[in-house]
């Protein structure tokens, strides 16, 4: 890339059809997003399979998987409270899928030509679907378990009657915006990190191509900066998966116990 060319950080999130689609006139295409979802699934499968040997004395791999499962189970049960165990599969699915796709999206496979990783969680459709499914679980469980008493969720305990016309709309809005905020947080966090790394990666290439002292200096500073940002992004990828699972279990707690 020439130094003067325009940086296009959004290009990495473009969904391209790998087969089907426009090729044979079908509206269903196998895209790079689908491919990377399958790769993430294969990684999760291998990770879990390696730890499911059920040895009495766990090896390293089994201890790793057991610790992982126990962490998510503890997260779900402490935050949902009584009756939380039946939601563990969904929370665990969310956590593992988000964590693995966040990390797979950051892997430096791009050193091989045309093997650029695709951040699956950098698509609002993917995170939005997970958030909507969580919200659907909240609504279904809430109405099935409490009936119309579920609406008492919008009236915090001990609210003075005079404040009800003010409190109820606020609580209703904050409840309805939950799936949106849940999805937006993960999606934008991933987009922001990838854009940052992409822009400074272009600075490195552009600085090296400039063949001047200033150019090399900018390339060096940008490279050090990228190393730091990547370390931060590793942290963010884990925190976002944790926060998504945590908030999902808190919302399910509301449906299960009404405050």
């Amino acid at each position: 890339m020439a130094a003067a060319s325009k940086i296009d950080p959004m290009h990495q999130f473009q969904i391209d059809a790998l087969s089907g689609g426009a090729l044979d006139g079908s509206p269903f295409a196998f895209t790079n997003s689908a491919l990377w979802m399958l790769i993430v699934l294969a990684c999760i499968f291998v990770f879990m399979w390696g730890g499911m040997k059920r040895e009495i004395v766990p090896g390293r791999w089994q201890a790793m998987v057991e610790g992982f499962v126990e962490f998510v189970t503890g997260l779900a049960i402490t935050n949902i409270g009584k009756g939380g165990r039946k939601y563990v599969p969904w929370i665990f699915t969310l956590f593992t899928f988000i964590l693995f796709s966040n990390y797979m999206g950051m892997m430096p496979f791009g050193v091989v030509e045309s093997a650029h990783p695709f951040a699956v969680t950098g698509q609002f459709t993917v995170t939005g679907l997970m958030a909507i499914m969580t919200f659907a679980i909240v609504l279904i469980v809430g109405f099935a378990k409490h009936g119309f008493r579920f609406f008492s969720l919008f009236v915090p305990a001990g609210t003075p009657l005079g404040l009800l016309p003010l409190i109820v709309p606020i609580e209703l809005i904050s409840f309805m915006v939950r799936p949106f905020s849940l999805a937006l947080r993960l999606f934008v966090a991933m987009i922001a990190g990838h854009i940052l790394v992409d822009v400074f990666g272009n600075f490195v290439v552009g600085g090296l191509n400039a063949h001047t002292i200033t150019g090399y200096l900018i390339a060096l500073i940008s490279f050090i900066f990228i190393a730091g940002v990547n370390a931060l992004e590793l942290l963010v990828a884990g925190i976002q998966a944790y926060v998504f699972a945590l908030l999902a279990s808190l919302y399910i707690h509301d449906a299960e116990h009404l405050h």
Binding site: T78, S181, L184, R185, V188, I239, V243, L246
Partner: protein, 75 residues
């Protein structure tokens, strides 16, 4: 002022919100650390609340970023 320069200036102004959210996130972790150092025994039990506060503060910064991106690319 033409539309292209107005867009760039608007996106820059929207990015101020990201900085403000960084102050919020710093406040969340700083306050947690202050409390945790006074009573380390109670700190581990509050980690869930720490991340809820972090998520709420961070979301607003991310929304500011999303607004900047929408101004730059989608308007």
């Amino acid at each position: 002022m033409d539309l292209a320069s107005a867009k760039v200036i608007g996106a820059g102004l929207a990015a101020i919100g990201v900085g403000a959210a960084s102050a919020g996130v710093g406040n969340v972790f700083g306050s947690f650390l202050q409390g945790a150092l006074r009573n380390p025994a109670a700190a581990d039990g509050q980690q869930g609340r720490l991340f809820i506060g972090f998520a709420a503060a961070e979301l607003l910064g991310l929304i500011a970023f999303a607004v900047a991106m929408i101004i730059l690319y989608a308007v």
